[in-house]
């Protein structure tokens, strides 16, 4: 027995106009300075104002949102008393909004206490609307919340089914202005969600199709969207793929590439999508030595390789590397400009954090501390995994 959770989703051209369907009086818009500067938050605020909402904009969310930030946001929510939390942005504002919402409804909780084993009792004060402005995070439809503890420099995987958004407006126009690098990073993030959601030990019949479809569309459309940002057909497919992958991995969990990527992002300040996708081919190769079937099945399903077993899984890993290379992303930490000294100074902590990241539990193959160290070293140098 397992379950599948999802918000109501309005997607496609003019999906943003469906703001008119929500009923309420006060909206707290959670976003970041870049989204405000780009005018994307304003598009949302204008539509909310037209519906008669009183609006407060909290736009202090940083990349990799930190605990003090969401606590500040929750303080503002308690003062403003919204009946809708409206999250506008990439994964960081969306995750921050989920945490702000929980802390607003449950002031007795600390952020680190948001876990899936308790009943939160949300929706007494507000509901959550998400509007993604990147095509990668999937956070518009998942219940996962990733926050950074700035003291420990550790990303924490939090969340509870109840904090799944009520409504997601997935409008490709909101992501149309993404610059080339952001398009590449977020598209590879979506691919990592799709592949890890499919290969996770928690995958189900309900998630497989979503993940496979999303993976195929990222392979088919990411290069086009990166090379020509005005290609709205490619952008639309990618935007929808990101949400499909979010529905998939949000219900089957991500896996080892996320466990490693979370700490890479926190310790070496890499964008989330670049960090997790950089790790993905290596973790696929590592897992494939003992449990290759899911990756090989996905490779066959999306037409990358008909070879079964380890060969099929390794071909999928190579296809990920090839796509990353096509969109100009690094294939190793060394390529990403990380110095050997910086890498070695944080290696022990990255191994320890990755080993006990919540995403590690759904890996088809467990990694010991020693194996994780070798994996990180391989990611640094760009060496394929043979152990």
């Amino acid at each position: 027995m397992w379950t599948f959770v999802s918000p109501r989703i309005v997607f496609g051209e003019d999906a943003l106009d469906s703001i008119s369907t929500i009923r309420g009086n006060r909206a707290l818009v959670v976003s970041d300075p870049g989204i405000v500067k780009a005018g994307l938050a304003e598009r949302v605020v204008d539509r909310l104002a037209a519906e008669g909402f009183q609006i407060h904009v909290f736009s202090e969310v940083e990349a990799n949102p930190e605990i003090p930030t969401v606590q500040r946001g929750a303080d503002i929510a308690r003062e403003f008393e919204p009946d809708w939390i409206v999250a506008v942005g990439g994964g960081s504002p969306l995750d921050a909004a989920k945490a702000i919402w929980v802390l607003y409804e449950r002031p007795d909780l600390q952020p680190a206490q948001i876990n899936p084993f308790i009943d939160l009792g949300l929706r007494n004060k507000a509901r959550l609307l998400t509007i993604p402005t990147t095509s990668g995070t999937g956070a518009d439809v998942t219940w996962a919340i990733v926050l950074t503890d700035p003291i420990e420099r550790r990303k924490m995987g939090l969340g509870n089914w109840e904090n799944t958004p009520d409504l997601a407006l997935v409008d490709p126009a909101m992501a149309a202005a993404m610059p080339r690098q952001l398009t590449a990073d977020t598209g590879l993030d979506a691919l990592t969600h799709a592949i890890e959601g499919y290969t996770s030990t928690w995958h189900t019949d309900m998630t497989d199709g979503l993940c496979a479809h999303a993976a195929a569309d990222v392979f088919d459309f990411l290069v086009r969207a990166v090379e020509d940002g005005t290609d709205m057909e490619a952008r639309t497919h990618l935007h929808h793929a990101a949400t499909s992958a979010g529905l998939g991995f949000g219900n089957s969990m991500a896996s080892m590439a996320h466990a490693m990527g979370h700490t890479l992002g926190a310790m070496l300040e890499l964008p989330h999508g670049r960090a997790v996708s950089l790790c993905l081919p290596y973790t696929l190769e590592f897992i494939s030595r003992e449990a290759p079937d899911r990756a090989a099945l996905l490779a066959a399903r999306i037409g990358i390789s008909s070879a079964g077993g380890e060969q099929g899984a390794r071909t999928l890993a190579q296809a990920v590397r090839h796509l990353a290379s096509q969109v100009g992303n690094p294939l190793s930490l060394e390529d990403a400009g990380i110095s050997q000294a910086d890498f070695e100074s944080v290696l022990d902590k990255m191994v320890a954090d990755a080993e006990n990241d919540t995403q590690m539990i759904t890996s088809g193959r467990s990694a010991t501390s020693a194996e994780l160290r070798r994996l990180f070293e391989a990611v640094y140098k760009g060496h394929a995994i043979g152990f």
Partner: protein, 137 residues
């Protein structure tokens, strides 16, 4: 040799396997907090049993069956009917998924547990390694 579940011999064998597991030791090297597993009665097992598993810094210093749930203090308590425990030990139910579906109830510092997911997985992996004799078999 197989060990009847639940019994003092069964939990001691699990403790021994954990002490041999390098993977558990590395993932739980900073862990402090003992567990009591409460096996609740159902159609296949009419009794209630309590298994104590001491866990400290990657090792299991002691383990025993208890006569009462409060015979030994423990930071964490996991409760479920016998049939659910059997599914976990057989590998048919992931205990984390089981807790999310409220099939197993966990009491204790959940924030702390969330920081050691791999250690939890290693404990379950060791459970599967205990040659188990089921009472209804």
């Amino acid at each position: 040799m197989s060990y009847r579940f639940p019994s003092d011999e069964w939990i001691k064998e699990l403790s021994r396997l954990l002490n041999e597991s390098e993977s558990y030791e590395s993932s739980a090297k900073n862990w402090e907090g003992d567990f009591v597993f409460e096996i609740q009665p159902d159609e296949a097992f009419p009794d209630t049993a309590y298994l104590f598993l001491g866990l400290h810094h990657g090792k299991s210093p002691e383990a025993s069956i208890l006569n009462a749930s409060d015979e030994k203090p423990a930071a964490f308590r996991v409760s479920a009917p016998y049939g659910t425990w059997r599914k976990v030990i057989d590998g048919a139910l992931d205990p984390i998924q089981g807790m999310m579906m409220r099939k197993l109830k966990l009491q204790g510092d959940l924030m702390k547990v969330m920081r050691y997911p791999k250690a939890a997985k290693e404990i379950v992996s060791c459970c599967a390694l205990v040659p188990t004799q089921w009472p209804e078999a």
